[in-house]
């Protein structure tokens, strides 16, 4: 009885030691459920376990004020927050709000750029996950011609 408990404790400590090693980037499975979610809140719960984020002015989200072509909207996200694990792009009014999620290694600067599709005028949210929590900032992008193909 006691030996068993000791074994479990030892295993737990060993596991904790593993987790405290420098974070190794693993190819996470494609987050199917999060990408299928039709609301931003649900997508974040599916992806990150919560839809609660801390607004942060340490995240710089660069998007056009007006996107002439919703099919190609440039997005640049950078942050001075430390120990960034992932950066995700959420477009509130897209049929499926979660657009992309980028997991970065510790040596990768939290500074990424890409181009996204927007169906209509919407808030674009940058969600940054660090070892201290989940932070976000958002900006509205006006879209004149929607880019989702419908």
């Amino acid at each position: 009885m006691h030996a068993g408990r000791r074994l479990v404790l030892k295993g737990g400590i060993a596991l904790a030691a593993l987790v405290s090693f420098p974070r190794i980037l693993l190819a996470a499975a494609w987050p199917d459920k999060a990408f299928s979610s039709t609301t931003a809140g649900q997508a974040m719960i599916d992806l990150l376990g919560t839809d609660q984020t801390t607004p942060s002015d340490q995240i710089r989200l660069k998007v056009p004020e007006i996107a002439e072509n919703g099919a190609v909207v440039p997005v640049t996200i950078s942050t001075s927050l430390e120990n960034v694990e992932s950066i995700s792009i959420v477009v509130e009014n897209n049929p499926r709000p979660l657009v992309a999620t980028f997991e970065i290694s510790p040596e990768t600067l939290p500074d990424i750029s890409s181009r996204i599709k927007m169906g209509e005028t919407s808030d674009v949210m940058a969600v940054v996950k660090t070892d201290a929590g989940i932070f976000s900032t958002s900006k509205q992008v006006k879209v004149t011609i929607g880019g989702c193909g419908g």
């Binding site: 290694s105 890409s114 181009r115 599709k117 193909g149």
Partner: protein, 104 residues
């Protein structure tokens, strides 16, 4: 078949700036073929991986809402001339593509 990935990698000090363009239709599945009127099936890159000397530096999960011919740029520390950078992707139909480049 030749890779449909283009990459530019620039080294400044120990930071490598990587810019990549991947040719891919990124069909949402909601677009109608103008000739047939039928819906063009969803076809998009699902996962993009960048590695430096074999170690993953970025793993990106993408939806159909990433623009056609996805563009991605990032910066990585601890880089030096001779490092091998590899960009690879897989799409929802199981197709893959990859490109390696050596930092100059």
């Amino acid at each position: 078949m030749a890779s449909k990935i283009k990459v530019k990698a620039k080294l400044s000090g120990d930071i490598a700036e990587i810019k990549t363009l991947m040719l891919h239709p990124m069909e949402t599945g909601a677009r109608k073929d103008p000739d047939t009127g039928a819906l063009v099936p969803m076809h998009h890159i699902t996962q993009l991986t960048l590695t430096k000397n074999g170690e993953p530096i970025v793993v990106a999960n993408l939806s159909t809402a990433v623009a056609k011919n996805p563009y991605f740029s990032c910066k990585v520390r601890g880089a030096k001339a001779g490092d091998t950078l590899k960009i690879s992707w897989v799409d929802n139909l199981g197709a893959t593509d990859e490109l390696e480049t050596v930092l100059g």
